[in-house]
Amino acid sequence: MTEALLQVKNLVKFFPIKRGVFRKTVGWIKAVDDISFEVYKGETVGLVGESGCGKTTTALTILRLEEPLKGQIIFEGKDLSKIKKSEMRKERKNMQIIFQDPYSSLDPRMKVKDIIAEGMLTHNLFKNTRERYKRVGELLERVGIPAEYMDRFSHEFSGGQRQRIGIARALALEPKIIMCDEAVSALDVSIRSQIINLLKDLQEEYNLTYLFIAHDLSVIKYISDRVIVMYLGKIIEIADKREFFSNTLHPYAQALISAVPVPNPDYKKERIILSGDVPSPADPPAGCRFHPRCAKARKICAEVEPELKEVKEGHFCACHFCAE
């Protein structure tokens, strides 16, 4: 856990807002605004936040499925943000993604075996078609789908099975890191735990690193080693899982944790109810982006944007008062 596999430095991704006849750019959606973090080899980093806070954009920008505006993406010592698209295509072998919606992430006109084998073919992983399909069969068996189903189309499978196919597809390239973009959010609870356990087993088996994006803290608590919390395109807290859940520092993260249901009807806990909506990422509030909804906000919060400071070893927080 010492070597950083992936380093994200000052990553910025804005989307232009275009209006009018000539589609002039009138503003920017600040989806990801100057974030930095590291992912170490073999760990699972949980990335949490409300919808629209830039979690998915972060993953897509790291993979350069969206072009970053600024910043560096250093993967195994190589800066991916500057290399050419053709070079990036070769790098994709090492970084894969599992999407949220298992219904739309598989090409409906391709057989499952071709969906899984296409990446191998692109990266010349096997000599001939027979060997490729043999490997496809092994992968399918590994994720819990009988190999003889490989000739079927994706619509013939259930949601959970489709997500397993999506995992097999990502594994096919033997990647070093997999971004799980809300990979289990669309599944129902019983299937969700099966898929999470499968991901955990695969991590041990293939020595994988995960960047696990979710909005469900109980999932994050189960699977992650470290947690990153995002709010409106900014990282507000990074900590070890244990540290994070026992000693939450940022008021927003505290509110998130207080919202997690506890499976005990007698347990009465105090919930922190956030007032107001998430401000628009096109026009984030000045100072601390969370201050309009923060119970602890003071004058400084509206004026100065807090930096992400290391409060304890390995525990970062972006709040003016997190040391208190």
């Binding site: 993604i97 090409d107 006109r109």
Partner: protein
């Protein structure tokens, strides 16, 4: 799948029965004497009341409606569609004689409709919102909103009236002479371009093509413009799908992403529209052939309508309905062939 096709084909007679019933209702609005006109070969017959009555009896023209309908159907089944005053020959003969010309026009028009419509649609979507896309879209909207009879007249005016590039008709006089009088010229398909090639007569092939270009331009513009718009929006929709991102994440190159993953999926709804457009072109031939004096079914039926030649018009409607039903069946079958999610049962 096979049982589906058979069941659909079994439905065909029922649909045609409905169509013929409607057509016969129109037909029955005419008095027996008026309907008689379609069976009169020689105007002299009309001067003799006895022979008129004989014809009325022969064709059961004053039968009550249900009996008349059954008898009419019986005649239709035997291809006895009546006499075409306009063509001065039996209607069935008139149809078979003119059908190849129309078929040739429609077949050639499919090429720009499918190629230009789909090809430009894909390009337009890939270059979403830039200059190329805007230009293509404006061209398509103009084609889509310009009525065929105005666009056709413009084409005729520019390319025949001013430039004299594309003359109207189907063949020049010298080529017609070869076609109808030369003993060496054999008609295999009655499609002149193909027959000319089979006979090794290149000048005649080029002449036929020269006559075809203007009608093709006119007939296809509205169809490819519509197809382009459908292809473009379907393609834009598909390009936003997760599986396109998945393909990119695999490291597949952009060309494969666009043409294998996106286009293949985007074309599924396009096929339905393309099929309907091609069938719809059969209706477009009426105006196009009239403008360009092109001797096909459309030209004939337009003049028949003007001369109240009912038997010709009704037979054309019947033929058109049959082609429409068969065309729709082909569209449905091809839909099932290209989309694995659709099963015809």
């Amino acid at each position: 799948m096979l049982s589906y096709i058979i069941r659909r084909l079994l439905l065909l007679p029922i649909i045609l029965l409905g169509v013929t019933f409607l057509i016969f209702c129109l037909f029955s609005l005419l008095s027996p004497m008026e309907r008689l006109a379609t069976y009169v070969h020689d105007p002299a017959t009309l001067k003799n009341p006895q022979s008129v009555q004989r014809l009325i009896d022969k064709y059961h023209l004053d039968d009550p409606f249900p009996l008349g309908y059954i008898n009419w159907i019986k005649r239709i089944i035997h291809f006895d569609l009546g006499w075409s005053q306009t063509a001065n020959q039996p209607v069935w003969e008139a149809i078979t004689q003119r059908f190849p010309a129309t078929l040739e026009l429609v077949l050639y028009s499919i090429i720009p409709v499918v190629l230009v419509g789909i090809w430009l649609g894909v390009i337009s979507a890939v270059h979403h919102n830039d200059m190329l896309d805007q230009t293509i879209r404006v061209t398509a909207i103009v084609g889509w909103s310009l009525p065929t009879f105005i666009f056709g007249l413009l084409i005729l005016f520019i390319f025949y009236g001013i430039l004299e590039w594309f003359p109207p008709g189907r063949l020049s006089t010298w080529a017609q002479n070869i076609l109808y009088t030369s003993p060496d010229f054999r008609s295999y398909t009655h499609l002149i371009t193909i027959d000319a090639l089979l006979n090794g007569n290149i000048p005649m092939f080029l002449d036929a093509l020269r006559h075809l270009i203007a009608p093709i331009l006119t007939l296809s513009y509205i169809s490819w413009a519509e197809l382009l718009r459908i292809t473009r929006s379907s393609m834009l929709d598909t390009l936003r799908k997760d599986y396109i991102r998945t393909a990119r994440a695999k490291g597949v190159d952009e060309h494969t992403v666009i043409h294998l993953h996106a286009r293949k999926n985007a074309l599924i709804p396009v096929v339905t529209v393309a099929g309907m457009q091609i069938i719809g072109m059969l209706g477009g031939v009426v105006i196009t052939e009239t403008i360009f004096n092109y001797p096909g079914l459309g030209f004939w039926v337009a003049s028949s309508a003007q001369q109240l030649d009912y038997s010709s018009v009704i037979s054309f409607a019947l033929l058109f309905a049959t082609l429409m039903v068969l065309g729709n069946l082909i569209v449905d079958i091809s839909y099932a062939l290209i989309d694995p999610r659709v099963r015809l049962e």
